[in-house]
């Protein structure tokens, strides 16, 4: 990932901005709730609150509330506000799974938003691309033809048959051989163009794919085993691994970059917050209490 951006993301100031907004809100409420100051025991309902209550109602019922309904909403809001402050003051928010999760979610929403708002500059994108070249590398591609031997039909003779044919094919003029007419019928293709090892593995199985990508081109070889039976193979063409230009894979790079930014923002936030804590874990408890743990220890 781009160095500047990494540094920016790790910048404590950024974290404080993000986390601060969330903490400040909660903290402000906490302090107010705990204080006995008369000013903090005042509930003010301004036009802004009334407007918000009205809009929420309207989006739900598709019409503005009547005066009586709006009055009811305000009364309910006041009731909620008072009880909320009292509950905070009594510490009812602690050890409550629902509230814990909600707070965690809020902080995650904040960091996610931060990451999605970042539009990488051209040099940043270029740098990200350079650092992750491997992901965009075009793998080695091979074209090949093959002849199939059906083990179920030929039984043990299949190996000898295949070896006999490969010897014959090697002596024949390349170009006169028609794989589709040799060996046994094969319902997939007898020839494949520019496939990666992974592509071949999906069709024939990994064992065959691995062997095929070891073969010297330009000669009939085998037999090689696959999920279907035995094959003779002839590699016609090898395209070495290549590196694309950024322009060619720009869409992929942008997509991966945004996705990674989101993850990194979350990880960076957690790491920075966590660094301010000392975490102690009872490792023995994990071993004992997990499935298949040592039942001689503990009370299971």
């Amino acid at each position: 990932m781009n160095e500047k951006l990494t540094r920016w993301l790790r910048e404590p100031l950024v974290h404080f901005l993000a986390i601060g907004v969330a903490l400040f809100a909660v903290n402000a409420l906490l302090t107010r709730g705990e204080s006995n100051d008369a000013a903090d025991r005042r509930v003010t309902v301004t036009e802004a609150e009334v407007r918000w209550l009205r809009d929420t109602w309207q989006s739900r019922w598709q019409r503005p509330p009547t005066q009586a309904e709006l009055r009811g909403l305000v009364d309910d809001y006041v009731r909620q506000e008072i009880l909320y402050r009292e509950a905070i003051a009594m510490g009812l928010d602690r050890d409550d799974e629902v509230i814990r999760r909600r707070m965690v979610q809020k902080i995650e929403f904040l960091t996610n938003d931060l990451a999605t708002q970042v539009q990488p500059t051209e040099p940043q994108l270029q740098a990200y691309f350079q650092q992750n070249l491997d992901r965009y590398r075009i793998p080695e591609l091979r074209s090949f033809a093959h002849v199939y031997f059906n083990l179920d039909q030929r039984g043990e003779a299949a190996v000898a048959d295949a070896e006999q044919l490969v010897a014959r094919l090697r002596s024949e003029t390349p170009g006169t051989v028609r794989p589709a007419e040799l060996g046994d019928r094969f319902m997939l293709q007898h020839e494949y163009r520019l496939q990666s090892e992974q592509d071949v593995g999906r069709i024939f199985g990994q064992r065959f794919a691995g062997a095929l990508f070891e073969l010297e081109p330009g000669e009939w070889q085998g037999p090689i085993g696959s999920g279907y039976g035995l094959h003779l193979a002839y590699v016609t063409e090898v395209e070495e691994p290549q590196m694309p230009t950024l322009a060619l894979v720009r869409g992929d790079v942008l997509r991966d970059y945004a996705s990674e930014l989101r993850e990194q923002a979350n990880d960076a936030m957690l790491a920075s917050v966590r660094s301010r804590y000392t975490v102690e874990i009872d490792e023995a408890a994990i071993r004992v209490l997990a499935l298949g743990g040592d039942s001689s220890v503990g009370d299971r």
Partner: protein, 643 residues
Amino acid sequence: MSVKRTLTAATLVSIAVAAPALAQDPIPPAEALEGAFQAQKHFSPYAGRNFPTQVYWGDTHLHTGLSMDAGAFGARLTPEDAYRFARGEELTSSTGLQVKLGRPLDFLVVADHSDNMGFFPRLFAGDPGMLADPTGRRWYDMVQAGGQQGVAAAVEVIVAFSQNQFPEALASLPGSPAYRAAWEEMIDAADEYNDPGEFTAFIGYEWTSNTAGNNLHRVVIFRDDGAKATVVEPYTTLAPLGSDNPRDLWNWMQAYEDKTGGQVLAIAHNGNLSNGIMFPIVDSFTGRRFDRAYAETRAAWEPLYEATQIKGDGEAHPYLSPTDEFADYETWDKGNLDLSVAKQNDMLQYEYARSGLQIGLQLERQLGVNPYKFGMIGSTDSHTGLATAEEENFFGKHSGTEPGPERYKHPMAETPNGRYESWDMVSSGYAAVWATENTREAIFDAMMRRETYATTGSRMLVRFFGGWEFTAADAQSRLPGALGYTKGVPMGADLPARSGNGAPTFLVAALKDPFSGNLDRIQIVKGWLDARGERHEQVYDVTWSDTDRRQPGADGKLPPVGNTVDVANATWTNTIGAPELITVWTDPDFDPSQPAVYYARVLEIPTPRWTAYDAKRYGITMDPEVPMTTQERAYTSPIWYTP
């Protein structure tokens, strides 16, 4: 990879522009093509064939956290995650497990429920409007508490919805910003990950008509990109914006096509949970007989049926097909979707693909058009964001049933009326599509012409052609695909007009999945009407493995192929069965005056079921009633004969 992809895309464009009619042209005989042979780079004399030579594998029915119920079950994965996973990337599941497909898929439709799309993201975010409602508040608390409470909330949500008791204040309705945002997230993810030539990401959604708990769901798939799909918002089932009647969905589809010039299709599923209204004779909404318009419209919009998935296999039922020893495969027949009404035997005929195809013939006789002229696909309907149908890598129906030592014995779902056991979940299925290219357009068009088949998760290759001139020698052909198109029509088509006095002939072939079991047998299932219009069916074993030790007995039944599964180790050997089967079959009971429908069913040898892999992996012993082996299978789209 990307260079290759770019080139393919460019080629595609030029083909699409230059030769849209090519696929329709008659196939030249093989000899005529031999001149095209080029010695150096191309061995094949048949290069440049213009019929589909490749099967593309996909899942047309996957839910993510955007679906109301999936979100409730704890799914956190997004449509973006779902597409990444399907094309082969490794992910962390909603329950924190690392997961990757054994083999990537070629295409995927993320089909989140249109009703209350984005409901859970809103509930999670603590939308004040939702929390103001007492039910909303309670669900919020349950979901936040997670675990079994979250599952209980999900079930409540589904039951409330299907019993029409969903609180109005909670509904996430089209036209609202939250709904729009969820829809656009789906569209963006599909457009972002659609990669012509490499991986196809379809835009889609599920219309979840579930009145009184009777499943009439349809997955809607777009051929188009976001430019067109964003013009509309998905059709829902609740009035006044939506409707639970499929006719209204078809009107919506027509309106979409008229408005945008785009194209959509719909795929129904789980007739087994519809309690007799998936393939009915009488309109369940009006109580009246169908008219020709119904038949025409349904046939036009619904070319395919999802015949197998996690909530039961829907090809055949043992009550309807008592002499078919393979009809009772992963049967789910307790009742409707929420188990509010128990199953009655007389409902079954209107629920299964096999009987539905025959009822279609009956309706065609009355109405002049067959409304149930569908091809077959399988899909997962998984609610985890993970399109898994591999037995050894099965992530279950929803996030509460992701792998773990306890999962098999927790109920998959429990309503006041009964429960679905988790061990009953079927690790099924996938959609196989014979298409010319891996693009939205080519795969969609293949679906429209029904050139597809269903599998229960295995990826065997199946060819099925019908015609009047196939001969036994054709089964020896080196290139049955080329021959099939030359002399007949592929799966999903109508037999050409009868020539001569003979019976229809079928070329059928299957090649095993290199990662799965050998093949046991190929069967052809025939359904037809007699002179009085009564339905009949017959299953023919047309070719099988191990012929040296297996011949039909006096009762006409072929002995079972055997079983090599070592349940304790969750392994098997391919020492029985065959890697490939092929034959030409002529209908021995053909009567030219009777309409008929034919499809092929391919069976694998027994292999370990997902429960066996779980038992081995976690070192547990499951109850004796839990099945430990399975016989994976494929169902092709039918070929129809009309007198």
